[in-house]
Symmetry: C2
Subunit: 409 residues, 2 copies
């Protein structure tokens, strides 16, 4: 039986070790550069505790990389692949940023790279896309890929509170980092979407090329409006559409309340896949936490350990992305309560070719006379709206922040 | 490359053939005892059209059984396995009724039996349970496994119409059989639950042993009550709980409106899995239709054709099931509008140890003076409730039909 070495003994690493010991796997060594972590871990005497990565590489045929980050993890992974080892990883940063290099090295060495734990925690979405849906052509993916932002948005929808309150609660529960910017800004979702889209398309979808807007501007009044007037609720979505070219973007979207993605509450993740001929599917589960992540990592180890091999993802060079397709959009602006303000905004939108479907002005005036104006557009592309928005925001009749979301049909 | 033969060229079989021709698979023959079906099919000249099963068995290493039914299909499958062939099937009746025999034959011959298409159409739930969640202990499964009944229940909830109307509409859309009794009664769900529970537990869960109640008695007033008073909506669930013993049952249940299972509308299926350490997962997709079913069948063929092998499910003999665990329940009775009727019912329930949490009497009287009484119980086991129900239904103050549902927490 192939030997396994787990490198990186943080919370996911420790849980991975604990789970591996419950299964028929030959765990040969555990490895961490931090002696305290090594010491803390409970493993049988036969499992070697190693401080340096090279000994672990020599030791085992299956290397579980859980050190995270990019620099040292990348060096370790490429070294392992070149030495003919199989690699299991949950490292979304590394994979999304160095996709072609990693898979070229694996292809050259004839080894496997498995990464179920890198996207959507315990949800076996990588397996589904690799083999379960292999008979299908994937047409599109809509993913709730970040538990922190989903917790915040569903908490705001449920309690009617502010984002600040929801974020504080998420931090209290350990569901948000002290610095939550990678989550709120959509950057984390971008990495995961990059992996899913690269896997499906067979060509690297560079995370840096994916247009990304976070949830930061969303206020409780936006959610109330979406629920009451549009029958929708916001979700931060990573979207990819596959056809003659590839469209990919990360942004909050208003999702119909009856859509399965609207039933994804709290820290859960979900990936909604439209494919042919199977139609719509959705995969739902916990996106974060040591247990869910370790469960995904261990499923990969079990398969490799049982001798199951599969084709490596194609890793063609990155191609440019198509511009985002047209969709109805929601725009909320805080506008000075002066005559002509509304006319000026609608004129600017009209000139850019953005056609307005609904416009609402809240009756409650802000004490400083900034009145929220909610605008719902007909299907419009992103470029003209961005152009109009830039011009509107540069005028003195509008103040920041503003809110802009895609509306899902 | 292993040769593939598709036997049974109905709608799923034809779609399977069409899909296989789009992939790198060596389709050697197609086979059906009906010459008209053989003739109708468009296949390249290299694919042999066969009328008898034996030629197909000789022909190929991977046999795709899509003839359905039990008798001839079972004979064919066992013959194929004994001849050392791998079998792919979507035959839920055959598998659920002859689970130990089928897998004993496969084990003896050292061949594989794949059955992704037998449960929940295109949803890769068999793969998830076999490998994707292999690191986990599955604690329970709640499945919406029948698209027809889910269509009917969600249509009734949406339109407020009767079951008769919803059924007629389902039949018009081709989503229900002319004789829908196998779907409405829960029997179809029982077969699928049997397969899932057998796969997870490693011992045959006989479909005949699974207590089963269908959706036939449910009326629009039950759904209105559930939504308005309980914040819930009905779904026909196949439930299995795994622990020191196995509990399995099929019955309609009121599911909280915020639960992901409540977001499964129309003809969709979903399997909600609670496991350790991954927590809750849900898998959602189309449960019926040629495309979804063929997509599942072809994913199995592609894996076998690529040489991927896996362990066969354990198939220990059937063990007795545990009685259904306690849960709050909903009971609607049509009661004669006479003094003392309500007292008699509540006394009977009380004597059986069934404790009442809520009781509602509709203000609108029935012209024939049968008044619907809605009762919500505290958590109660099934046996005492059935006993009380039997006694109540035998009295002249209550008429049939009645409604009884489990309430999901």
């Amino acid at each position: 039986m192939a030997g396994v070495s787990v490198i990186g003994l943080g919370t996911v690493g420790s849980e991975t070790v604990r789970l591996l010991l419950e299964h028929e796997v030959e765990l040969r060594s555990v490895c961490d550069s931090d002696p305290a972590r090594l010491k803390r871990l409970t493993v049988p005497a036969r499992v070697r505790r190693l401080k340096d990565f090279d000994s672990a590489l020599r030791d085992s045929e299956i290397i579980v990389e859980l050190i995270g980050g990019v620099g040292p993890a990348k060096k370790l992974m490429l070294k392992a692949l070149r030495a003919g080892k199989h690699v299991v990883t949950a490292n979304k940063h590394l994979l999304s940023r160095h996709w072609p290099e990693v898979f070229a090295a694996a292809r050259k060495a004839g080894t496997q790279v498995r990464f179920e734990g890198a996207v959507a925690g315990c949800i076996p979405i990588i397996q589904a896309l690799r083999t379960g849906l292999a008979a299908n052509k994937v047409l599109s993916i809509h993913g709730i890929l970040n538990g922190t932002t989903n917790y915040i948005l569903s908490k705001m929808a449920h309690d009617g509170g502010s984002m600040k309150q929801a974020l504080a609660e998420a931090q209290r529960l350990g569901m948000a980092e002290r610095d939550p910017s990678l989550d709120l800004s959509g950057a984390d979702t971008t990495h995961k979407l990059s992996i899913l889209a690269s896997l499906v398309s067979g060509a690297w979808v560079k995370p840096q090329l994916i247009p990304c807007r976070g949830i930061e501007g969303i206020e409780s009044e936006d959610i109330r409006f979406a629920v009451d007037k549009l029958g929708r609720t916001p979700r931060l979505l990573g979207t990819a559409r596959f056809g003659d070219g590839l469209e990919a973007h990360v942004q909050p979207a208003f999702v119909p309340l009856k859509h399965p993605l609207a039933a994804v509450h709290g820290g859960y993740n979900a990936v909604f896949v439209d494919c042919d001929p199977a139609g719509d599917l959705m995969f739902y589960g916990k996106g974060a936490g040591a247990g869910p992540a370790a469960s995904a990592v261990v499923s990969d180890v079990l398969e490799l350990s049982a001798g199951v091999r599969g084709p490596l993802p194609a890793a063609a060079p990155a191609a440019p992305l198509l511009p985002e397709s047209a969709a109805p959009r929601y725009l909320k602006l805080k506008v000075k309560d002066v005559p002509g303000a509304l006319g000026s905004i609608t004129t600017t939108l009209g000139r850019a070719g953005v056609s307005i479907a609904q416009i609402h002005q809240s009756a409650v005036h802000n004490p400083r006379h900034w009145v929220p104006i909610m605008i719902v557009t007909h299907a419009t592309e992103r470029a003209p709206l961005e152009k109009a928005l830039k011009s509107i925001l540069s005028s003195s009749i509008v103040t920041r922040p503003f809110t802009c979301l895609r509306i899902l049909d």
